[in-house]
């Protein structure tokens, strides 16, 4: 059971990856989360001026699966086909810190008590960081929905926010899981098929190639950044061991290694800083990349839907031609063709708007995160430096 309250650093945590306009009539945050075994219960707090809600201020408890449900319903809604639907937050993953904790427990005998405590602290910090991150991505998902003019008025979304009982969404059963898998297959096959359809709008053509390219690159970058932060963390862990050993040596040896005691202190500090550098890098850079990877996927989905509509339109054109040739059901075909055209036009229009805003949003988010990361790096390096400086001076003086 872990429970965190993050009122203090809410400002910091909020909208790390997306810049959101805080003046919306709908303000959502997740002030609290509760972890029970595999399930994480998020407390969602909403403040609103909209009168479609019964109360201006209320909170509900939701699970990760509820978020998935919300996302799915949004995807399935026809009207939103022309919008970039915010990517669903990833499933909370506490496996790796848990595993590490387990390993640590096994290796307890080989470590000194001090070392063990430090490692444990480190792991707890990591666990907490993962927890916070999870909360954050869920919060961002909701905030993006609330800041969007169309989604904020969605009925399901409002229910999600307001209904004070357990939503008790049915978990996906095996058949549905398989169905989803099948749908994905069909989708990717369809993507290949309709890729032959001639693009009428240059903007979309460009956007499509760009997104495809970008997606690949950002995926790669995410993986690499993850690897980098992981090895950085390993490095930080090494410092723990070193400092612990140094401390024992210093304790063993009263006079000769007096200097070592302070070195070991330095090591601890260096370790903490290194760990912080690693986790900040993770938070600022890796998370950014990861988020936009998913976002781009969403944008790609939008493009797919549009392409699908285009293909439909062309098919309906063909059908109309055929109908005219046979002079049978011409009216029906015409109507269908008109519908398709309308749908396609609507999709194109909103898609264009969405993609442009997406681009702007991305640039802004990148800027913000990069600046923050650079600042943090500088901050850590500076504190590290002053620490080392102090230690060197101390060593030289005695």
């Amino acid at each position: 059971m872990t429970s965190i309250s993050q009122d203090g650093d809410r400002d910091k945590l909020r909208s790390v990856s997306v810049d959101l306009n805080n003046d919306t009539p709908l303000l959502i945050d997740i002030p609290d989360a509760l972890c029970e075994r595999d399930k994480v219960k998020f407390t969602i707090h909403t403040k609103t001026t909209l009168n479609s809600f019964q109360k201006p201020d209320f909170s509900v408890s939701r699970q990760h699966e509820d978020f998935i449900w919300l996302h799915d319903t949004l995807v399935e809604t026809e009207d939103y086909a022309g919008l970039i639907i915010p990517p669903v937050p990833p499933k909370p993953d506490f496996e790796s810190p848990r595993e590490k904790m387990h390993k640590l427990g096994e290796g307890e005998a080989t470590m000194t008590k001090e070392e063990y405590t430090k490692m444990k602290q480190e792991l707890e910090a990591e666990y907490l960081a993962v927890f916070k991150k999870t909360v954050q991505v869920h919060e961002i998902f909701l905030q993006r929905l609330s800041s969007h003019p169309a989604f904020s008025k969605d009925r399901n979304f409002q229910i999600f926010l307001e209904y004070d009982q357990d939503l008790s969404v049915r978990r996906k059963n095996a058949k549905e899981m398989f169905g989803g898998f099948f749908k994905n297959m069909v989708k990717s096959a369809d993507e290949v098929l309709i890729s032959g359809v001639k693009e009428v709008d240059e903007f979309f053509e460009q956007e499509k190639t760009f997104l495809l390219d970008y997606f690949g690159k950002i995926k790669d970058a995410t993986a690499k950044a993850e690897k980098m932060t992981r090895s950085h963390k390993n490095l930080a862990d090494d410092y723990i061991h070193i400092s612990a050993t140094l401390t024992t040596i210093a304790a063993d040896d009263n006079e000769a290694f007096k200097s070592k005691a302070c070195i070991s202190n330095v090591c601890v500090c260096v370790q903490k800083l290194e760990a912080r550098v690693a986790s900040d890098q993770e938070l600022k850079l890796t998370e950014l990349f990861r988020y936009y990877m998913r976002d781009i996927q969403a944008a790609k989905d939008l493009l797919y839907r549009r392409a699908r509509a285009l293909a439909d339109y062309e098919n309906s054109n063909k059908a109309l031609d055929k109908a005219r040739l046979k002079s049978k059901d011409v009216g029906q075909a015409e109507e269908h063709q008109q519908q398709c055209l309308q749908k396609f036009d609507k999709l194109s229009e909103s898609g264009k708007k969405e993609l442009t805003s997406f681009k702007a949003r991305r640039v802004v988010a990148f800027r913000k995160n990069l600046i923050e990361m650079a600042e943090l790096e500088i901050k850590h390096a500076k504190s590290n430096m002053s620490l080392l400086h102090a230690c060197i001076e101390q060593l030289q003086s005695n």
Partner: protein, 684 residues
């Protein structure tokens, strides 16, 4: 091998011989070990079908080492070549003999000098004489040029081929040499090997005997008259192809070539001789009178030759390389005992080991802490030797250089070691005698290992009731410190590895970010991303440098001190040994006193005097031992104090250096990120 086993019960010819042989053996093992400079052993194994490699070398390298230095050898070899060339048609005719007989004279005069002389004691019977002269003969040739070596190999096979004819005569002739040879293996550790040695011995003897059979009058010149047969090279080489698939021969020679790269010339030729001959010998035993058809031989014999020439060059390079691994440690000295203020000498790694051996032999019984030399790294050396332009080998060389430098610094910073003539010699002298028995894989190394093991056992059995608490505490302290340092060393190594990993990952990430930047359509963002990539690139370099610093400053320091603590423990052991001697002496004195009392009681005045003398002697000894022990104790105490002071200073210095390196990388990091910040802000 049936034939050989029949002969194996050795009829020893003379007592002298037997006495001599072991002596020779001692020399052998040292020199022979040189051949295996560590790693090369492994590369040597494959080409040799029979495991003769070790004993063979032992047998020959001894006598040959001396001739190797012989200035004559080169010219002689050249002449020899000429002779062999000229005589190619002659095939063992008298004129050729004459031609050959000139050089052999001077060739032999020297090489025989030392080792040969010893061997000459065999001369009691003719075949032995020949045999003893065989080795020196081959030496000059080896030394000269590898091409000659190739010829030589062939030569031997020839000789042998000829020998086939008069096989029966030889049988009796052999009997003695093998016997003599057999003596060695039995004496030494390699008891299992006699069989393998045996062929070698015999083949050696065979050419000689053959020669003697032809010209029984003058043995030395004889040997050279055989050069003419070199010619036949081909002819004889063909003997092999006839029975053994020809691929076999070529592969064999190839394998041998690779050996030669590392080995010194002595080894080289020896090896190239072995395997073919052994094979041949076996073959001969089966079909001694097989006719020798040789159509394609010329090609097979000429093929190895050019190759060998190439190898010679390589060998020289490699040799030099070996020598180059020296510490550039310009010694500026004001001490009057040195001749000049600045000295530069070139030393091999084994010289350092040799220095350590000498110093530890001299000083460690007195309780001094002799700084241990860096360990041999067979793996690293192999890498250096095999992959020349490898980055890791550069690192290895640098690592070793740094370690050697620190080692020397430690030696010269020790007040009493600095006074040692060996140290001075090491620093001053242009040429050092080759350090011996420093090889990890040699008979001597093996013996050392055994000695160490017995030492450890005896250490366990000695129960010392410690009179001085200080020593007890210190020893315990040292032991626990050793453990801690080992642990710490492991950690730091993993730190180094992780940092290296991080550096690699950062590089990969930088590349990936650069790619991302290239496909970004917002120009400012794209620029920022490529800047970020650059920053990450630099950080990667930073991590890499820091990893090197971690390693060279921190990890190596710890490794050094782990070794040094070993030396400290050794000096405690020495003290314990001195104590043990003293106790033993006391016990002995006690016994003598008791014996005297008994004698007194039994009233035996004639023995009483002797007993009294003994007591007096032992009293003197005991007091000597006691003084020794006290002296060792005092030295150990002083040394440990000194060591600790040094250690504290060293650690402080190194750690400050290490922290400064960390500081420096942090500074760089700040610089990089600060440069990046405006770029990030410029994204619009």
């Amino acid at each position: 091998m049936a034939a050989s086993s029949e002969r194996s019960p050795p009829p020893f010819p003379e007592l002298e011989d037997q006495e001599l042989e072991p002596e020779l053996e001692d020399e052998d093992s040292d020199e022979g070990a040189d051949i295996f400079t560590g790693s090369t052993l492994s590369s040597m194994d494959p080409p040799l079908p029979v495991s003769t490699s070790e004993p063979d070398k032992d047998i020959f390298s001894g006598p040959r080492a001396e001739p190797l230095n012989n200035p004559l050898s080169e010219t002689a070899a050249e002449q020899l070549k000429a002779v062999s060339g000229a005589s190619s048609k002659a095939k063992g005719d008298v004129p050729v003999e004459e031609a050959g007989s000139e050089e052999p004279d001077d060739l032999f005069s020297d090489p025989l000098g030392e080792s040969g002389a010893e061997l000459e004691t065999h001369t009691s019977n003719a075949p032995l004489l020949d045999f003893s002269e065989e080795p020196p003969k081959s030496d000059p040739i080896k030394k000269a040029a590898s091409s000659v070596a190739a010829e030589k190999k062939v030569l031997h096979t020839d000789l042998f081929g000829d020998g086939v004819d008069d096989d029966e005569d030889k049988d009796d002739l052999f009997k003695t040499p093998p016997g003599a040879m057999m003596k060695k293996p039995q004496a030494s550790l390699f008891r299992a090997e006699p069989d393998d040695i045996f062929p070698e011995a015999k083949t050696e003897a065979k050419p000689a005997t053959k020669a003697s059979a032809k010209q029984p009058n003058n043995a030395p010149t004889d040997l050279f008259t055989e050069e003419p047969f070199t010619v036949m090279p081909a002819a004889r080489a063909a003997v092999k192809p006839a029975a053994i698939p020809s691929a076999n021969t070529s592969s064999k020679t190839n394998g041998l070539h690779s050996d030669e790269e590392d080995l010194f010339a002595e080894a080289t030729v020896e090896l190239s001789l072995d395997s073919p001959r052994n094979d041949r010998r076996k073959r001969d035993a089966m079909k001694p009178s097989e006719p020798v058809p040789c159509p394609s031989t010329s090609t097979s014999s000429s093929k190895p030759q050019p190759k060998k020439l190439e190898e010679l060059e390589e060998e020289e390079k490699e040799d030099k390389f070996d020598l180059n691994i020296s510490v550039t440690n310009p010694e500026k000295t004001t001490l009057s005992m040195f001749r000049s203020k600045q000295l530069t000498v070139r030393r091999r790694f084994s010289d350092f080991l040799g220095l350590y051996e000498k110093l530890s032999e001299k000083h460690s019984p007195n309780g001094y802490i002799v700084p241990p030399a860096p360990e041999k790294s067979i793996l690293g050396m192999t890498k250096v030797k095999v992959g020349k332009e490898d980055l890791s080998s550069d690192e290895f060389v640098e690592r070793r250089r740094a370690a050697l430098e620190r080692y020397l610094q430690r030696v010269v910073s020790h007040p009493s070691l600095l006074q040692d003539p060996d140290v001075r010699e090491f620093l001053e002298k242009e040429e050092l005698p080759r350090a011996v028995s420093t090889q990890a894989l040699s008979g001597a190394g093996f013996l050392k290992m055994i000695n160490k093991a017995t030492d450890a056992v005896s250490k366990m059995t000695i129960k010392m009731n410690e009179s001085d608490v200080w020593f007890e505490e210190k020893l315990q302290e040292v032991e626990s410190e050793d453990q801690q340092l080992r642990k710490l060393h492991g950690m730091v190594e993993s730190l180094v590895n992780h940092r290296k990993e991080l550096s690699v990952n950062t590089a990969v990430f930088a590349k990936s970010v650069a790619m991302l930047g290239s496909s970004e359509d917002n120009t400012a963002l794209s620029r920022a991303l490529s800047q970020l990539a650059e920053v990450e690139d630099r950080i990667e370099q930073l991590h890499q440098d820091q990893a090197a610093n971690d390693f060279f400053i921190f990890a190596e320091l710890l490794a050094d001190y782990i070794r040094l603590l070993g030396a400290v423990r050794a000096c405690f052991d020495q003290r314990m040994k001195a104590w043990q001697r003293w106790q033993d002496g006391q016990n002995m004195l006690q016994k003598k006193r008791e014996a005297e009392a008994k004698l007194l009681w039994a009233n035996k005045p004639e023995k009483l005097q002797q007993a009294k003398d003994e007591i007096g002697e032992w009293e003197g000894r005991v007091s000597q031992y006691e003084r020794d022990f006290d002296r060792v104790s005092a030295t150990v105490r002083k040394e440990v104090m000194r060591f600790e002071k040094e250690k504290t200073r060293d650690f402080k210095k190194q750690i400050i250096k290490y922290l400064q390196s960390l500081l420096h990388s942090e500074q760089q990091l700040i610089k990089y990120w600060e440069a990046f910040l405006p770029e990030a802000k410029a994204i619009a």
